[in-house]
């Protein structure tokens, strides 16, 4: 039975997609921050990919210096507010908090982080201003977490920055890809506006960079170029029936959900194929949209899933049923999808093998493929001397994020093959400093 009723309006949508990490009030924040031990060489900080000085900002919250806390956060991470809500804190900072070693609940670091950042976003407090104009211009391709962070950092260093963005909103997958119960569109965009108002970079929307000519023009107009294009559309399964009506890519499905909320039509029976975090989000999302039956089908055993345990638990709590060791053979249907044919698998000496004769069909009227995003290979292949690794990830110098073409720097999903927003934020900042170093030394 479905846990959720199909939302008929925005109010019901909000109920079904209730924020997982609501904003703390002053009292909660005060009591929670009081618990922090101010550890030496704090493990939480070591576990933060953006290296935020967590004990410091928590102490600042506790002493009533909310703005100072927000500054501490933004000094390390330009996506400070988004990260507070959407980072998998349980496996990062909060997972490393020393309290865990004593079976005491760890500090709620993510929510404290939001408490500080939301206060300045709401008040509009100016924490940064652009550095003195140094006459140099940098182009950024993609206004995702990596691109935006790179832009912010470059502006503090005095560069003019133009961001070319294919879509009509900033923040990339933060507003298009992340599950809606993690963060609302308004909250994401509020942070984007907050940053842009202070630092004044240009974003040229609806402007895809897709031709050699465009690249050549960028190269001649800008001192350096940052590539923050992330990944592409959902990869193809190369399977019969993929083009039937009712077969969707997970990233596209979630983007639709983020944009159109209760207007998105969900089918009665949904099969989600995949075992990563995106599959969990797509399955949870389908259930919260009111689908009667959501089956999450994964080729291997439950423990081999790439998704975090807490993401799977969240999907299950929304009513999703797991189907493991089921490898899809074909999507069946006549014009529209009617089911998915699977074959059972087992692990033999660590190798996934198909059990002959074990084929079966799960009936459904919608299939969501969460089988990874395609790489941005075609764009990247147009850039001279740009080396990619065997997984089509851009190769960069780990200290500067400079690519093998010295004029290009890169970061985010385009170099790591798909990680978290916080990694993109770190990369963008690192690359900005790499660009600064490269330009000032040339």
């Amino acid at each position: 039975m479905a846990e959720y009723k199909q939302p008929a309006n925005e109010q019901e949508f909000k109920e079904n997609f209730k924020q997982k990490k609501p904003l703390m009030n002053d009292t909660q924040a005060h009591y929670e921050s009081s618990r922090c031990l101010f550890c030496y060489d704090a493990p939480c900080m070591n576990a933060c990919p953006a290296d935020i000085d967590i004990p410091l900002f928590i102490k600042q919250i506790n002493t009533g210096n909310k703005e100072g806390a927000a500054k501490t956060i933004y000094d390390s991470n330009w996506m400070g507010n988004a990260c507070g809500t959407i980072c998998p804190t349980g496996v990062l900072c909060e997972g490393a908090c020393v309290y865990n070693n004593q079976d005491v609940a760890p500090l709620l670091i993510g929510r404290l982080q939001n408490y500080a950042t939301m206060s300045v976003i709401e008040s509009g407090k100016q924490l940064y201003s652009p550095g003195e104009d140094n006459g140099e211009k940098v182009a950024i391709i993609g206004a995702g977490p990596a691109g935006i962070s790179c832009a912010c950092e470059l502006r503090t260093l005095g560069y003019s920055v133009d961001i070319y963005e294919a879509k009509s909103q900033p923040s990339g997958l933060t507003v298009h890809g992340i599950a809606p119960y993690k963060i609302s569109n308004e909250e994401v965009i509020a942070e984007m506006n907050y940053l842009q108002n202070q630092l004044g970079y240009n974003i040229i929307y609806n402007h895809t960079i897709s031709t050699k000519e465009q690249l050549t023009e960028l190269e001649s107009n800008y001192s350096a170029i940052f590539i923050g294009v992330g990944l592409g559309a959902t990869a193809s399964l190369n399977m019969t029936g993929e083009n039937l009506n009712g077969v969707h890519g997970a990233v596209e499905f979630i983007e639709e959900l983020r944009k159109n909320h209760s207007d998105v039509k969900i089918a009665q029976k949904v099969v989600v194929i995949g075992g990563g975090n995106t599959a969990m989000d797509a399955a949870s999302g389908s259930a919260r949209l009111g689908a009667d039956e959501v089956t999450l089908a994964y080729r291997r055993g439950k423990d081999s899933m790439g998704a975090y345990g807490f993401e799977y638990d969240l999907a299950v709590s929304a009513g999703v049923k797991g189907l493991f060791n089921a490898s899809p053979l074909e999507i069946i249907g006549n014009g529209s999808v009617e089911g998915v044919r699977f074959v059972k698998t087992e692990s033999v000496n660590g190798k996934l093998t198909i059990i002959e004769g074990s084929e079966f069909t799960v009936n459904c009227d919608m299939v969501i493929k969460a089988t990874g995003q395609a790489k941005q290979g075609s764009l990247l292949s147009m850039i001279d001397n740009l080396s990619l690794d065997e997984k089509t990830r851009i190769i960069v110098n780990a200290d500067t994020n400079q690519t093998t073409n010295p004029k290009y720097f890169a970061g985010g999903d385009a170099i790591n093959g798909g990680a978290e927003v916080v990694n993109g934020a770190y990369d963008g900042k690192l690359a900005a400093n790499g660009i600064h170093q490269w330009i000032t030394q040339n």
Binding site: H30, P43, M45
Partner: protein, 468 residues
Amino acid sequence: MEFTNGSHKTKEMNKKDKIDLSVNFAGIKAPNPFWLASAPPTNSGYQIMKAFDAGWGGAVWKTLGMPTINVSSRYGSTNYRDTRMAGFSNIELISDRPLEDNLREMAEVKRHFPDHAVIASLMVDTRKEWEDIIKQVEDAGADGIELNFGCPHGMCERGMGSAVGQEPEVLKTIVEWVMEAANIPVITKLSPNISHITDPGLAAVQGNTDAISLINTVKSIVGIDLDSYAPYPVVDGKGTNGGYCGPAVKPIALHMLKDLMQHPEIKSTPMSGIGGIETWRDVVEFILLGATSVQVCTAVMHYGFGIVRELEAGLINFMENKGYTTIYDFAGKALPNVTEWKHLNLKSEVKAKINEDKCIGCDLCYIACDDGAHQAIALPTDGGRIPTIIEKNCVGCNLCSLVCPVEDCITMEKFDDGKEHETWHELTESNRIPDTWNDDRAGGKGHYVPEPLEALATKRKDKSGMRN
């Protein structure tokens, strides 16, 4: 259903019954030593009846004296992290209610609670005024009188309260007047706003007081408002010094109590301990230093009269475990162990020990010792977080065990064999104290300290490359 539980309970109760908490404090009798200090909780008969009903054994009525006017606001507090009112400050004066109302209610309380102690706190100016008011409270049925020589704000500007408490000669004179006039026991309440508490203490004894209570509040400013630049509590843009009390002042009160209880001419005077008492443990500590009744204000203002349940249960539990039947069995028992520094055993040696199974790896002990003590704790070089004590460097200062957030994780272990005993006093007597800097007998000579430059070599770990 089994009935063994029931009979068990009776046995428990019998055991509890053997304990007698009642006190006879300089002739003032009360069912227990838990009294309310003269303050807002004793402002009215209503409050005191409610308190007696809740389990308090006595109450010192809010100070009576002369007409006053109070300001608003009146209180400020010191909040420590998530702890509210770790210290509390007030700029309130003595009772502003009409004397007749107070006296009438006092008589009514005594009618309902004849066995509880009702003590009238008084503060007036001239000899005549003292004589008159003593007569009035005696007529109302008060069991005793407490002289308020402590209030450190407002009243002292009018030559009363701590203005008296800080002038031993004046204090003595007034105590003498009171002793001549009074037919009920007299307690002199002392102000801590003085260098040596024994000066007013001795003056009170020489004036023939029956008992002493201490401390009243400590002159203080709890904070400054960062917009109006006025001290808390702010009254129309200005403030004044307040009287500080609550948990923060307990150490000051304990010390002053000890000073009086070790003074040869004062120590036989009954002492009522006041200052920061909130838990049974506080009560026991005051009794161990010689108090035979305790008074509470801030804790009641914070939590209400109900906290007496915890005081009583805790005190009884302590007495049961130690085998005491009355508080007089252990009153003053800590006094012989409070000595001067020069009599401490220089040969005693303790060192810190970390329980690795309990350690959560916060490394606060490491940084506390390295930055704030003796560089006697090392971190593992393999990136682990469980520190180890470098025994040869540890001086046994206790710091790490105080900062460690885990219960009983760092313990201080005895290292000497207990056979040797040598004190600074003995060294002085036998002419063996070190007298030059390089004297081998001097304490710090052999102590390890790192070279100054090593400070710059131990930079924080570089974080780049931490991500994957």
